[in-house]
Symmetry: C2
Subunit: 402 residues, 2 copies
């Protein structure tokens, strides 16, 4: 965050009080609660945090926080994050991966908001602690999750590294956890291709877990990100991995299970991905290997709709079948406008200053399809770069011009 | 054929002149010709053979035989077969696998009978040279084809043997070719389980090809069969393997590709199986193995409908999904009545001597489903054990009683 100055709010950044409120909420209630998420959606983060501190939220929400409700840890956690080079990314930020996480918003509507602390709830995160330079939304825009067993075989690690390397070469980001085995092999493969990789952790982004991966995480930070729903210092409690798994599935276009034993965590992540409408893929292996049993189970269960993949090209063919483009990735961005993808920048440049124009017109001027335009407009609007006039789209007064 | 005496025709056996005629046709025209097959269907085998010898068949059919048309090799080939313990099984025999081969009859109706000698024609065999004791129809009734690469890996051979062994333990027959690699491993696995196995050859059943498999073929003959469309002495010409492949696919309930390189013969057999409406299955393997590429291609191509199988249980689950029973196999039979499956024998016993009864009544008496009855009645009728009176089914006068 080197270029940002304290006290100066950048285009596409949330207001400080919003960030402080979400930081407080992030620690006050264990992530994954649909009751809290709905309360924040209705009241807004600032009012929701104030109500929680004052003890005036609904009993169900208040019960979720318990003794933690009264403490205002927001500023302290933000300071602690800043000391390790981390930041809190909130839905009000331009770098919030709104498009990817939309599936969780959809899924959460079916969830039961009875206030029980269920760990497998499909609900969007309230905020994400992010360590690393590039904007979160850009890094995960073209990303695939590679997941698998900790007790992986040399075969599985080889394939995980090859897949991540191949995805990286094609401009795609690898997303995984931070565990031994397949997770680590995937990150190493991506790093070897000089590609960004994202480790989504079940503990604070200031903690190296497992400890022997501190050097690996440092290399991830060269071009990628460490991401967590838990504030700095939080421990990797067992149930947090289940909550974390939904985030890996949600952030990516699809999930590849590289190696998995029968009834494994990797299979659970695959089920989450399917529940969220994302592409599920599995790598086959020797039928004699216990570490491929989970993959073969996924592939044999036709209801799962898992696709067999043997290479990065297979993976991209699968996620490309979702109807999205397979064009090369955007360059690494620095500022709000620069953080846009090539298509988004062209659409932005196509927007007139005064009278709004329809998407069809923008597509003609930008030289892309109407589908492309419709895909990038939400992000441009979220970044307050374009606005709807009631009859068409135009640039906002504050939007930087090329 | 030890119990049969020369000149004495058994129940369910074709007339000698029919067998001689089909023996002649078997050598006169290269198998796989839909024009000849239709001619034989229309004229009957005896008249067709006579016409071919006399040169009075249609020019297209006459051209198929060429110089071979005038020679009557039927009796000589039957004698030659008998000397090596082989027989010619014809559609008029009770042991003809009519049910399995019905798919080829259906497929042949779509074939072009222009007389061209095409090797990939889907057409039923005119007759089958069979070496080994058990009746052909019984052995292939519950059978699965295991096919794969000659240049197989130790992994592939291990899996082929395990699958065949598991199928054999569950009373199923393994059908394969006679080649090195997966074919041989499959036969060895079945033999280790003491189960029948069938090698469908592209040369005469008196020839060991490859020569080093003569000991293996001798072991196959202990409980299983060598089967070929070509008369004794015929050489394994290259194009004959393609014609043979359709027979492997047709005789079995499904085809498992254990290992296959890209664009391989095993894949071709799988395509034949699919064309014939049989279940196609493939064994996954390491994505790093060239010998699993063909299997993964089959599994990735959703139009092929190939199922991933990792064990004999998976295979039986797949062929069981065709809606057919997965009951234990019938015991080994000796005579016409004994050669019947358990269900067929019960249905036969349920048939009255005088007034015919409907299948529903037979099912009630036999203690099986109506579907079971409908499935076994054609074979019982073909064996001349039961007959349709116009209002129901009854045993024939010649049927042996229990």
């Amino acid at each position: 965050m080197g270029e940002r100055q304290v006290g100066e709010r950048q285009v596409g950044e949330a207001a400080p009080e919003v960030r402080r409120a979400r930081a407080l909420l992030s620690r006050a209630v264990e992530p994954g609660s649909v009751a809290l998420w709905r309360f924040v959606e209705q009241a807004g983060p600032v009012a929701a945090a104030a109500a929680l501190r004052a003890g005036t939220a609904s009993p169900a929400v208040q019960a979720l926080a318990g003794a933690r409700a009264g403490e205002d840890t927001g500023s302290a956690d933000l300071d602690r994050a800043a000391r390790c080079g981390a930041r809190l990314v909130v839905p009000e930020d331009a770098e919030w991966p709104a498009q990817a996480l939309h599936c969780l918003t959809v899924a959460s509507s079916a969830e039961d908001a009875d206030g029980r602390d269920r760990t497998l709830t499909l609900v969007p995160p309230l905020a994400l602690w992010v360590r690393g330079q590039p904007p979160l939304a850009d890094v995960v825009d073209r990303s695939v999750a590679l997941v698998g067993a900790r007790a992986s075989t040399a075969y599985g690690e080889h394939v995980a590294a090859e897949l991540a390397h191949g995805l990286g070469e094609r401009g795609w980001t690898t997303v995984s956890g931070g565990a031994f085995g397949i997770d680590a092999a995937a990150h190493r493969g991506a790093l070897a291709a000089g590609a960004p990789t994202v480790a989504v952790l079940a503990c604070g982004v200031d903690r190296a877990y497992p400890a022997s991966h501190s050097a690996l995480f440092a290399r991830v930070l060269d071009a990628g990100l460490l991401v967590s729903e838990w504030p700095p210092g939080c421990a990797p409690l067992r149930h947090r991995f289940l909550v974390r798994n939904r985030l890996i599935a949600a952030l990516t276009r699809g999930t590849v299970v590289v190696e998995a034993a029968a009834r494994s965590g990797a299979q659970a992540t695959a089920h989450r991905a399917r529940d969220l409408g994302k592409q599920v893929m599995a790598v086959p292996g020797p039928v004699t290997s216990a570490m491929s049993v989970g993959c073969h189970q996924l592939l044999r269960d036709t209801e799962q709709g898992a696709r067999l993949v043997t290479s990065a090209a297979d993976v991209l063919e699968a996620v490309g079948r979702l109807g999205e483009d397979l064009a090369p990735p955007a360059e690494r961005p620095v500022r709000a406008r620069d953080s846009l993808s090539d298509v988004a920048r062209r659409v932005l440049d196509a927007c007139p200053v005064r009278a709004g124009v329809p998407p069809e017109r923008l597509a003609a001027v930008a030289g892309c399809t109407v589908l492309d335009v419709l895909r990038v407009l939400p992000a441009l609007e979220l970044a307050e770069l374009v606005e709807w006039t009631g009859t068409g789209w135009r640039v906002t007064a504050t939007a930087p011009r090329s």
